[in-house]
């Protein structure tokens, strides 16, 4: 389409031409030259053309017009107007001056852009008629030689010309370059100095070698040495900016980071077609021998980019349908659903159903399925995923997951047992199964089987023995535990964990034997424990041994050298035993004895307690010798592994009762752990006093955390009625780091609080402490259950416009007492209900819709429903067979997680 005003411009140009033609020749020529000199080539051209049209003797002006066209051509090329530049060059060629009249500058300009053959001919003529060659012309000539390989152009040059000297080397190198042997060419050109006109050729060879060596920095360094006027400069430019544009250098069209950005933009904008095209291209570039495998991987990554929403789902499903129809697409869809894990174990089972597409070899399938099961268990634990009613899942799906019972408590253990069975070398499955709670006998049996298998599979690993011994403890099978620990000791003789476990096992056994009136056997256990234990367990063993003497005075004397007859004698025995220990071990031992005597309410005389008190008083001299870390260890609870040996694990109360001043030895870094222990033991007064003391003496240290503790302790103690204001003021004062510390502390303290403080601490929202928000609305489940008329509600979900005709009639046949329904709902009606759900999905146009959309639709319909949601009832009524046979959409509509 013609530009508007084109005719007008043409008329104007014509009139300007007529005006020019009316001017005298000399004036036009002068103005043309003036424009040329001023670099106004576009303006110079009409003047010079007009002048030449007036005067037949053109020799004087031809070179000027030639130059004007050449320069204008260069200008246009700079502006990337290649076609227009070509036209100007063609015009220039019409006014080519005779070689004798040609300026060197014009020749160089022409050689830069002109066609190679014409340039060579022109150059040849010029060199014949001119003596001497300037360095600039030398460089242009070198470029021309590289392009044309017209070595005869060098003939007219003087014999001392450097071009002549370097020409043989360059000719040899060019042969190699044309073969693609860039390293050979570089080797040949190594004698070409930087000052040589051929040096850019050497730089280009260097760039190409760096390009093939993937040396990006070297490539750019070499390319920067190629001057603009050298004919290979455009190639250098392309290599620098967009090497993928030089298509002949690549086996397949490369996929650049710019392409990746474009792909990500299309994905974010939900543009399926261009995204699919780019995925295909990327797959081909990444793995040309198997682009489908590459596409699978790329789409899995794009899942996260597309976003976890309905539109993102639609895009990914669209990509899968377009690029991976068939089994691979089904697999990918199942895998993506498994990653999303919205339906928990159902998604895992569905992925397992199609896993053979990804792992067709049985051995690999087993290993992969084992990984899927472990991952499923970990997600259920970490995310607290709801487990659907197991009787709603089909037997094949449950079988795939290894679930055999309908007991939800066993579910995770059964899945891990299956993982172990599938891949007996999967160490993480064993470790995970040994850490799960095992409340029932069946659970213990499964875990024991798995650990025994692990002990066989990993004959040098002490872990299964340790875990098995713990399990035997739980079953009160101490002799078995001991035998297993013997094996563990054989496997790892220097492992402190095993020695500790062994010592604990012996001490438990000894305790049981004491209770069973077998002190001689108990003594054996004590002696064995004593001989085994290392410094960490020494206080425990010493304490237990001394308590044994106290517990059965006199009896031990039958088998040992010491006879305990009186509290005084016991005191001397204890003093002698703890004397050898370090101050920390001494206090630790005495603390354990005190904890045992006080906590377990051991039978005995008052005299023993008095003696223990005296011993503890004597030990107060040891307190100043303890480090802060040691005091912290004494005040924080004992290790959980000792729970069978001690009446309780918390012992801060025992120490603080006898040594209230020991808190002063705890430094700022350790006090938080100590305060937590005190709060756990309800030592609130002591905690409050200590915090207040520290707040009084705090110099320039930040006290926000301590103040928070004080406030929380006061609330726990019921000593303050203040609401959120004080907490909020503290939070406002805290910086980011302190806020995080407060958040963590609040969570810990909340375990010992009750509502509303508990909720306020858990959420760090202290509005809950306001009197008006303290009362939580209560939901009366009983009232709701007793509402027998819900089915007759006028606002019942279905209205006339809903496409679920026949549903109310169907529902009329369902008895409302759900307890009567268990297993008794007629099979035929069940089939009809399933059909009806399928029809509803069709009517709602949900067939083929993404899962997210189906759920969103259902939630929207639920929101609009004032009565109960009828499909919940249907979901409960459908038997497992019908539930399994539902289509994907119907299943999601009924059972999909919100």
């Amino acid at each position: 389409m013609a530009k508007p005003g084109r005719k007008k411009r043409k008329t104007k140009r014509k009139s300007q031409w007529e005006q020019l033609a009316r001017l005298p020749f000399s004036q036009i020529a002068r103005q043309g030259k003036a424009h040329l000199q001023a670099g106004e080539f576009k303006e110079a051209i009409p003047f010079l053309n007009a002048a030449l049209s007036k005067n037949q003797d053109t020799d004087g002006l031809r070179p000027f017009l030639f130059r004007a066209y050449l320069k204008r051509s260069a200008q246009l090329r700079e502006k990337a107007m290649v076609k227009e530049a070509g036209l100007m060059l063609a015009n220039a060629e019409k006014w080519l001056p005779a070689s004798t009249n040609m300026a060197e500058e014009d020749l160089v300009e022409y050689l830069s852009f002109g066609p190679v053959e014409k340039s060579a001919a022109l150059c040849h003529a010029y060199l014949k008629t001119h003596d001497g060659v300037s360095p600039r012309l030398e460089r242009a000539l070198a470029g021309l030689l590289v392009q044309s390989e017209r070595w005869d152009l060098l003939d007219p040059l003087p014999t001392d010309s450097p071009l002549l000297a370097h020409a043989p080397v360059v000719r040899k190198a060019l042969v190699r370059m044309n073969r693609g042997d860039w390293e050979g060419a570089l080797e040949a050109l190594k004698g070409i100095p930087r000052a040589s006109a051929f040096f850019p050729l050497r730089a280009f060879s260097m760039a190409m070698t760096r390009f093939f060596k993937e040396d990006e920095a070297g490539l750019h360094r070499a390319l920067s040495m190629i001057p603009r006027e050298f004919p290979l400069f455009p190639l250098a430019q392309a290599l620098r900016i967009a090497p993928e544009s030089l298509t002949c250098l690549w086996e397949y069209p490369p996929f650049s980071t710019r392409d990746l950005e474009a792909l990500l933009t299309h994905v974010r904008c939900q543009e399926i077609e261009p995204a699919a095209f780019l995925v295909k291209r990327m797959a081909l570039a990444v793995l040309p021998e198997n682009p489908r495998a590459a596409m699978m991987e790329i789409i899995q990554y794009l899942r996260a980019v597309a976003g976890e929403h309905r539109r993102g789902d639609a895009l990914i499903i669209g990509l899968i349908h377009r690029l991976l129809p068939g089994a691979e697409g089904t697999l990918l869809q199942a895998k993506i659903n498994f990653y999303r894990f919205e339906n928990g174990i159902v998604d895992a089972a569905r992925y397992l159903q199609v896993l053979d597409t990804e792992f067709p070899v049985q051995r690999e399938w087993n290993q992969a399925a084992s990984q899927v099961l472990i991952f499923t268990v970990l997600r259920i634990i970490s995310e607290g995923t709801e487990i659907p009613a197991l009787d709603r899942m089909s037997a094949p799906l449950l079988r795939l997951l290894g679930i055999q019972s309908s007991n939800q408590e066993l579910l995770l253990i059964e899945m891990l047992s299956q993982a172990v069975t599938l891949d007996p070398r999967n160490e993480s499955a064993y470790r995970l199964i040994s850490q799960l709670p095992r409340p029932s006998r069946e659970a213990k049996r499964l875990v024991e089987d798995a650990l025994e298998q692990m002990a066989v599979e990993f004959p040098e690993d002490p872990y299964p023995c340790l875990a098995l011994s713990q399990l035997q403890h739980e079953k009160n099978a101490f002799r078995k535990a001991e035998a297993i620990l013997e094996e563990a000791k054989r496997r790892a003789p220097h492992d402190a964990r095993i020695i500790d476990a062994y010592v604990i096992c012996l001490l438990i056994s000894a305790q049981k034997r004491v209770c069973g009136n077998k002190p001689h056997l108990a003594l054996e256990d004590f002696e064995k424990a004593q001989s085994l234990c290392q410094s960490r367990m020494l206080p425990l063993v010493t304490a237990k041994r001394l308590l044994f003497n106290y517990d059965v005075p006199g009896q031990a004397s039958l088998f040992g050298p010491h006879v305990i007859r009186s509290p005084q004698q016991w005191r001397e025995a204890v003093a002698a035993a703890v004397e050898r220990l370090t101050p920390f071990q001494r206090l630790n031992t005495l603390g354990m004895i005190a904890l045992d005597m006080e906590g377990a309410k051991l039978p005995g005389t008052r005299g023993f307690s008095k003696k223990l008190k005296l011993l503890l008083m004597n030990a107060s001299v040891d307190i100043p010798m303890l480090t802060s870390r040691e005091i912290r260890t004494l005040l924080t609870p004992l290790d959980e592994t000792l729970y069978r040996l001690m009446p309780c694990l918390e012992r801060a109360g025992v120490y603080l009762k006898h040594f209230p001043g020991m808190l002063q030895g705890v430094n700022h870094a350790d006090i938080v752990a100590v305060l937590d222990a005190m709060i756990a033991e309800n030592l609130l007064k002591a905690a409050r006093n200590e915090i207040q003391r520290r707040l009084r003496t705090a110099a320039d240290r930040s006290t926000v955390l301590l103040e928070f503790y004080l406030l929380a302790v006061k609330h726990l103690d019921g000593r303050t009625g203040s609401g959120r204001t004080e907490f909020q003021a503290l939070l406002d004062r805290a910086d980011q780091g302190e806020r995080e510390q407060i958040r963590a502390a609040a969570r810990r303290i909340s375990q010992h609080a009750s509502d509303p403080l508990k909720t306020a601490l858990t959420t760090l929202d202290f509005q809950y402490l306001d009197p008006q928000s303290a009362a939580f609305p209560e939901f009366d489940v009983l009232t709701m259950d007793e509402d027998e008329n819900w089915g007759e509600d006028k606002d019942f979900w279905i209205d006339e416009e809903m496409p679920l005709a026949g549903l109310p009639d169907m529902l009329d046949q369902i008895p409302f007492d759900m307890d009567l329904l268990e297993g008794d709902f007629p099979g035929m009606l069940n089939d009809q209900l399933a059909d009806m759900v399928e029809n509803a999905v069709d009517e709602l146009d949900l067939r083929g819709a993404p899962i997210g959309f189906i759920r969103e639709m259902r939630e929207e319909m639920k929101r609009q429903t004032t009565g109960p949601w009828v499909f919940d009832l249907i979901a409960k009524l459908l038997d497992a067979q019908n539930a399994q046979e539902l289509s994907r959409e119907s299943w999601e509509f009924l059972y999909g997680k919100d």
Binding site: V82, V146, Q147, L174, M177, N178, R179, G180, D181, W182, F211, F212, E214, L232, P234, L235, A238, L246, T247, C248, L249, W250, E251, Y252, P253, P254, F255, S256, T257, D259, L260, L264, M282, A285, V286, L287, P288, N290, A293, A294, E297, I298, Q300, Y301, L302, R303, A304, V305, Y339, E358, F359, E364, Q367, A368, Q371, V372, F375, D423, R425, N426
Partner: protein, 101 residues
């Protein structure tokens, strides 16, 4: 997991032994003190492919565990970089001339 194979410059069907051999050869070529980035890349790739169980785990769970999928994709294209073809100067200049035309 393709990027790991590409980083190790090895076929997806390579055996444990081949993977280990290639890993050792590559870390000899790219020691950490001279080429820390490449060394890290090689080590990560080896950790993901070192034995059959690890490879299967990577195949099943790696796309889920990728913290930054965009970075993973960028690594994939960087590691893959389609094979370069050795062409001569004349071919390159012909391409340039065709473009000019």
């Amino acid at each position: 997991m393709l990027q790991y194979y590409l980083a190790l410059e090895i076929s997806p069907h390579a055996s444990d032994e081949e993977i280990r051999k290639q890993y050792l050869a590559l870390i000899r070529q790219h020691p950490p003190e001279r080429d820390p980035i490449r060394f890290q890349e090689i080590s990560t790739a080896y950790e993901k492919l070192k034995d059959e169980m690890t490879r299967i785990r990577t195949r099943v769970l790696d796309p889920y565990e990728a913290n930054d999928p965009e970075k993973a994709m960028a690594e994939l294209i960087r590691a893959s970089g389609p094979a370069k073809v050795r062409v001569g100067l004349k071919t390159l200049m012909a391409l340039l001339a065709a473009r000019k035309g």
